[in-house]
C-alpha cells in the first residue's frame, strides 16, 4: 500500500504556528478543550548564556507499529488499508486515554468536553481531493513537508533531539539534520 510520511527540517521553523492554525481551521477543531492535533514545541537547552532552543512541529506519525492501536481496548483505532494512515473512530472511543499514555509523541488528544480521543488524520479528506495536508500547505519555509513514505524514509535521520527513540513504534517521519552552509 502507498502511505505517507512527514519530513521535518527543524532549522527552518520560524515558530509562526501556521501549521497549527491550518490544522485547527481545516478540521474545525474546538478550542479550549485541550485538543491540538499539531503543536510546535519550543524547548530550551543549556544555561544562560550558553542557551539554545529547538522548535519542533509534531502531530501524529501514523507509526508502522502503532502502539495506540495495540492498546485500545475497544478497537476504536484502526489503520486504513488504502493509505496506511492510523485513524480513531469517534463512535467507538470510550475515552480511556490508554492510547495517549502509550503514544511517545503526544498524538492522541483528549477532548475535555466530549471525553473522547482524536488526533491528526493526515488530512485524508484533503488528500482525496489531491491536496496536501493543511499544515504542509501553510508552512512558509518548508520546515514541514510530507510525501510518499518510500521516498521520505530514504532521507534525513530517523530521530532528532527531544524525540522519543523510533525503534519501537517506527514513526513515519524523517528529520533533515544538515546545518546551513557557511561560506567563507
Amino acid at each position: 500500500m502507498s502511505t505517507y510520511g512527514w519530513l521535518i527540517d527543524e532549522k527552518l521553523c520560524i515558530e509562526c504556528r501556521a501549521c497549527e492554525s491550518a490544522c485547527k481551521t481545516w478540521n474545525q477543531l474546538e478550542t479550549g478543550v485541550g485538543v491540538r492535533w499539531r503543536q510546535v514545541r519550543v524547548r530550551e537547552m543549556g544555561v544562560f548564556p550558553q542557551v539554545r532552543q529547538q522548535a519542533l512541529t509534531g502531530s501524529c506519525h501514523h507509526c508502522e507499529n502503532a502502539w495506540c492501536m495495540k492498546v485500545c481496548p475497544v478497537k476504536a483505532i484502526w489503520r486504513r488499508a488504502s493509505d496506511g494512515t492510523v485513524q480513531i473512530d469517534q463512535d467507538k472511543c470510550v475515552g480511556c486515554q490508554q492510547c495517549a499514555m502509550f503514544c511517545p509523541y503526544g498524538a492522541p488528544q483528549f477532548n475535555l468536553r466530549t471525553r473522547k480521543m482524536s488526533k491528526c488524520t493526515f488530512c485524508i479528506d484533503r488528500q482525496e481531493q489531491g491536496l496536501d495536508p493543511a499544515c504542509v500547505t501553510l508552512c512558509p519555509t518548508g520546515a514541514l513537508q510530507y510525501g510518499p513514505w518510500d521516498e521520505i524514509q530514504k532521507q534525513g535521520s530517523e530521530t532528532t533531539e527531544n524525540f522519543a527513540p523510533p525503534r519501537q513504534t517506527r514513526p513515519r517521519v524523517r528529520f533533515i539534520k544538515d546545518a546551513f552552509p557557511v561560506s567563507r
Binding site: 485547527k24 474545525q28 474546538e30 478550542t31 485538543v35 468536553r113 466530549t114
Partner: protein
C-alpha cells in the same frame, strides 16, 4: 388537532419574534440589547453555532448549525431576509418551526427539526433564566423553558 396546532404555531411564532426584535418599552429594549447584543459582553448569544459544543465544534458565528439551518429553510423554498446574519438565530428557528406546524408537516418532520435545531436551546434558556432582570424577559425565559 388543527386548532391545537394553530395555537402552538402562534405561540412559537410569538416566541420567535420576541427574540428577533426588541420590545417597545424602552427599559425592556435596553434589557434586550444587554442580554443579546451587548458590546460589554453578551450573556445570552442567540445563535446555535455559538453553543455547538457537544459535537466538539468551535463556538463561532456562521458555523455548522448555520449551514444546516439554511439547508432546512431552502428545502422549503425559503431563506432568511437578512442575508448577512446567521441563519441559526433562535428566533428564526422558532419562526420556521411555527411555519412547519401551521403548514401541517407530519410529526416525524417536526421531531427531526426539534432534534437538529431546538434541542440545543436548553443551554440558551438556562442562561436567559439566570441573566434576565426585566420581568418581560423573565417571563419569556419561563415560557421558553416550558415549551422547548
Amino acid at each position: 388537532m388543527s386548532e391545537m396546532r394553530e395555537h402552538l404555531a402562534q405561540l412559537y411564532a410569538e416566541l420567535g419574534q420576541a427574540l428577533l426584535q426588541p420590545p417597545r418599552d424602552q427599559q425592556a429594549a435596553i434589557e434586550y440589547y444587554r442580554l443579546f447584543f451587548n458590546p460589554q459582553g453578551t450573556p445570552c448569544p442567540l445563535w446555535q453555532s455559538v453553543y455547538e459544543k457537544e459535537e466538539g465544534k468551535p463556538p463561532q458565528l456562521f458555523g455548522e448549525a448555520h449551514h444546516r439551518a439554511l439547508a432546512w429553510y431552502r428545502r422549503y423554498g425559503f431563506e432568511p431576509s437578512a442575508k448577512n446574519e446567521p441563519a441559526d438565530h433562535l428566533g428564526l428557528l422558532l419562526l420556521f418551526y411555527a411555519k412547519l406546524l401551521a403548514d401541517g408537516e407530519p410529526a416525524d418532520v417536526l421531531e427531526q427539526f426539534e432534534n437538529d435545531h431546538l434541542r440545543w436551546a436548553e443551554a440558551f434558556v438556562s442562561k436567559l433564566k439566570a441573566e434576565a432582570r426585566h420581568p418581560y424577559f423573565q417571563e419569556l425565559a419561563a415560557k421558553l423553558d416550558e415549551n422547548l
